[in-house]
Symmetry: C2
Subunit: 301 residues, 2 copies
């Protein structure tokens, strides 16, 4: 079944101990859509400027990512640059030029409106709600947010996530959103805000799925090489959501949620192996399924 | 099969956001032995001062912990005091009075020397080696160490761990010992130093088992209440080693190692629920096995 992804398409300047590259194709919608494209038909809603490279559009098209909702606006594409610490655990933002993304007003093509799966990448919560309501009949709606919206627009964010089936955030966001340090208590409060499923991403330490009936967890995949963690969380979201769309899963299906978390972890782990979307762009289903089986082998006892 | 544990017996003064207690029975040998006592016969080698409470000896005896190797020396028992941060992730040491532990010279009773399992708690590496050589016929030898010995006595430590089957340390110690940040590379270097199995404890994030043929991982158990993390790592070691002793496992048995890591995680998680050894002292096999099954339920997909 098909999936719509709303988010950013950007150019990134990234420096890690393994190299330095500028104007790499990035942005949440890009990572989510590329990761999901290995599982199900996916279309994006995003905005780029007139500097957007035809080659980058082609890369998305070769993965069958629908671009009807990719608006081209006068001006420059969202640009972000940052530098990572030696151990890759911290990063410092050097530049954030929102450019055309500052006025992003997601317009859902009519052909998208019947898609059963919707992932709302990290944008203004009020915009997430507007898109969500245009897809009132969706079978499963998931979304992401960030510390900035938790702090600056808490009421809009509460209104947004109340209407989601799955909230996908990281552990520091979960703590900030709930005001609780203990993850189980944090999860309890967040589930009470509306979403039936909460996924807490813990970076190299894996992820946890919380539901009213309990929790489930996976450790992280230990990579031999990590060149660039940019986009790992979005790739997780893409693998997670792509699997659910392929399976035609509904929000109550706990088993599908657990398997989706593993596929999310698989895609997040691949993402880190090369700069930008390089690794995500060249994967095969065989590699993906092999790493899924590896997850089983490294966790079974 | 029976297990010998070498380490410290101490009194601890502990303050966490959940309370403050002084002169709680503690020390590595205490936690390891109590946790292991639910699985196999265990005896300790340690030293206490003339202030050691008969009630504390009784607590160990009611768990059938062999005390023939518990030396009583003139002076005071090892005393440690510390205070934990609000989120329990950091702690500040307020007092370390080694007292009789400063001159600890482990003497292995003759009746211990045939025990097939030996766990060397965190003491001077040269002493660990001396004890290890007195049990040359042991089926499986495991041990722990700490940042202080990695820095101050690297040659003695290298000599010690070369003769161990399992090294049980935490992630920062693994990084320090190997000089590598990436855990897989760190593990490769440590395995090359001798031990056939390396367990890396990651606190609330779980644990990883490394062997020449690959790795295996478990997430942490998410507790609803964490009152005091003191001794969790030692309780892990006790559950881990106790299970191996009960199973009669040898160091090549990868499946037993994985199950032992889960039992270690189970005992570490229980330990945190109350101050000091309180929770460890009152467990039942039923509770332990139930949590082991919970680990399966929260990781299966």
């Amino acid at each position: 079944m098909s999936l719509v992804v709303v988010g950013s398409v950007a150019y990134d300047g990234i420096e890690t101990p393994h190299g330095k590259f500028d104007r790499l194709l990035g942005g949440s919608a890009t990572y989510i859509a590329l990761a999901a494209s290995y599982f199900a038909p996916v279309s994006i809603v995003a905005v780029v400027g007139d500097d957007f490279d035809a080659e980058d559009a082609r890369l998305l098209e070769t993965h069958d990512v629908g671009l009807e909702g990719l608006e081209r606006a006068p001006g420059k594409t969202f640009y972000w640059a940052g530098v990572y610490s030696e151990d890759l655990n911290d990063r410092k933002t050097l530049t954030t030029d929102l450019n055309v993304f500052a006025g992003f007003d997601p317009k859902l093509p009519v052909t998208y409106q019947e898609a059963p799966y919707l992932f709302l990448g990290n944008i203004l919560p009020a915009l997430q709600t507007r898109v969500r309501r245009q897809m009132a009949g969706a079978r499963l709606v998931a979304g992401d947010t960030m510390n900035y919206w938790i702090r600056e627009t808490p009421a809009d964010l509460a209104e947004a996530i109340r209407e989601w089936d799955v909230l996908v955030i990281n552990d520091s966001e979960a703590r900030m959103l709930s005001g609780e340090y203990q993850l189980r208590r944090a999860a309890e409060k967040i589930l009470a805000m509306g979403p039936r499923n909460l996924i807490v991403k813990r970076g190299e330490y894996g992820a946890v799925l919380f539901r009213k009936d309990g929790y489930w967890a996976t450790p992280g995949f230990l990579l031999e090489k990590v060149h660039d963690p940019t986009g790992a969380g979005d790739s997780f979201a893409g693998g997670f959501m792509g699997f659910l769309a392929r399976a035609g899963a509904d929000p109550e299906d706990g088993k599908a949620m657990r398997q989706a978390v593993i596929y999310g972890s698989v895609m997040g782990s691949f993402c880190c192996e090369e700069f930008g979307v390089r690794r995500l762009a060249e994967l095969s289903r065989g590699e993906i399924d092999a790493r899924y089986r590896e997850f089983r082998a490294i966790t079974e006892f």
